[in-house]
C-alpha cells in the first residue's frame, strides 16, 4: 500500500544539534559566549586585544581563535591577557560546532565568564554554521566599503550586534555611513551598532558596556 505521511519537521543539520549541545555546556557553567564574525582583516583580533585588558578586572575571559593554519591570533589574544585556545580549521573557511566542542574541552569552563570566539575571516560561510554561542557579532570595517550589507545579506541578517571598526579612517576613504546603515536597517531592523576604532579607542566604551551588561544578564539567568 502507498501512503503519504505528513511530517512538517524543520531540517536541522548535525551541526545545529551539536551547537545545541555546546550551548547547554556553556549554560551549565555560566559562560556567556559570543561569535565574532567578519571579513579577513576587519579587526576581529584587534577588537579582542582592546577588549580583554579593559574587562579583565571584572570578568574572567577566554578566547577561542579560529584560523586556517596559524596560531598568530591566539598568540595575540594570550598576549592581551586572555586564556586562549587555537583551532586550526585545516583549510575550512568557517568554524563549526564540532570544532568549538573540541576547543571547549580544552578550557576550564568553570573559570570563565565571557568566551569570545573569533571565527575565520569570511562573510559567507560562518553565517550558516551555528556554534552554540549566545550572540553573533559582526565586525564590519570602513575600508571594506559601504556596500557590504547589500552584498552579504545572510551575514547581516544573522547577527545580534554590529561593530563598525576603523572609523578613524572615515576622513580618508569613501564610505557613505547613511547608505551603509540603510542597508543594515533593511536587513536587520533595529540592530545594535557600535561604531568604533581599535586604533584610537573612540567608541570602545559603548561596546564594552554592552558586553559587560550582556554577560552579567546572561549569567544571572543561569545561576
Amino acid at each position: 500500500m502507498n501512503q503519504r505521511i505528513p511530517v512538517v519537521e524543520k531540517i536541522l543539520n548535525a551541526n545545529d544539534r551539536l551547537a545545541a549541545e555546546n550551548r547547554r555546556l556553556l549554560d551549565e557553567h555560566g559562560v556567556f559566549a559570543i561569535n565574532l564574525m567578519a571579513s579577513p582583516g576587519a579587526g576581529k583580533t584587534s577588537l579582542i586585544e582592546q577588549t580583554v585588558p579593559r574587562l579583565a578586572a571584572e570578568l574572567r575571559l577566554a578566547v577561542v581563535d579560529g584560523d586556517i593554519a596559524t596560531s598568530l591570533d591566539a598568540d595575540r589574544a594570550a598576549a592581551a591577557g586572555a586564556i586562549a585556545v587555537q583551532i586550526n580549521t585545516g583549510g575550512d573557511c568557517h568554524l563549526d560546532a564540532v570544532m568549538l566542542q573540541q576547543a571547549l574541552a580544552q578550557l576550564d569552563l568553570r573559570a570563565v565568564d565571557l568566551l569570545i570566539v573569533e571565527n575565520v575571516g569570511n562573510l559567507v560561510c560562518p553565517a550558516s554554521f551555528a556554534l552554540g554561542t549566545h550572540l553573533s557579532v559582526l565586525v564590519a570595517s570602513v575600508p571594506e566599503g559601504d556596500d557590504k550589507p547589500y552584498k552579504y545579506p545572510g551575514m547581516y541578517r544573522g547577527v545580534e550586534a554590529l561593530v563598525i571598526n576603523k572609523i578613524d579612517l572615515l576622513p580618508y576613504v569613501p564610505f557613505r555611513m547613511d547608505y551603509f546603515r540603510q542597508g543594515v536597517e533593511l536587513l536587520n531592523p533595529g540592530l545594535r551598532t557600535f561604531p568604533l576604532s581599535c586604533r584610537t579607542g573612540e567608541g570602545l566604551e559603548a561596546w564594552l558596556d554592552w558586553l559587560r551588561g550582556e554577560t552579567r544578564r546572561r549569567q544571572g539567568e543561569h545561576r
Binding site: 502507498n2 505521511i5 505528513p6 511530517v7 519537521e9 551541526n15 531592523p189
Partner: protein, 114 residues
C-alpha cells in the same frame, strides 16, 4: 556548498518517520524551501543518492517546493514579493521592510510503501 549535512538531516528525519509507519520503502520526499533560505541546489540529490544507499530511502526522489519571499513595507503596509536583487517597497520605495515569509526550510511529507 554545504549540502551534505542538509542531505544527512533529511535522511534522519525521513528514516525516523518511515520507521514509525513500518514503511518498506520511501518513494518521494517533499521539502519546502523559502526563497530567502539557504541556497540549496541539485547537488543535494547527488549527496542524497550517496547517503541513502542501503536504507529504506534508497532511490527516493526529492521534490522541492519553493515558496516566494513575502515582505511587508513598514511605511505604507504594502505586502509584496520582491524581484531578484530588489528589496525596497515597490509602492513607496521605503527601505523599512519586514520579512513575512521566505525563510522556511522544512520537510513536509513523505510517500511510503508499506
Amino acid at each position: 556548498m554545504h549540502e551534505l549535512p542538509v542531505a544527512q538531516s533529511i535522511l534522519d528525519i525521513t528514516l525516523r518517520h518511515a520507521g514509525q509507519h513500518n514503511a518498506r520503502r520511501v518513494r518521494t520526499i517533499y521539502v519546502v524551501i523559502g526563497q530567502l533560505s539557504s541556497i540549496i541546489d541539485d547537488s543535494v540529490q547527488f549527496y542524497w543518492d550517496m547517503i541513502a544507499e542501503g536504507t529504506l530511502a534508497e532511490g527516493a526522489k526529492l521534490e522541492f517546493r519553493r515558496l516566494p519571499a513575502v515582505l511587508q513595507c513598514q511605511a505604507c503596509g504594502e505586502k509584496y514579493t520582491p524581484l531578484p536583487g530588489e528589496l525596497a517597497c515597490p509602492k513607496c520605495e521605503s527601505m523599512q521592510v519586514k520579512v513575512i515569509s521566505g525563510e522556511e526550510f522544512y520537510l513536509e511529507a513523505i510517500d511510503i510503501e508499506n
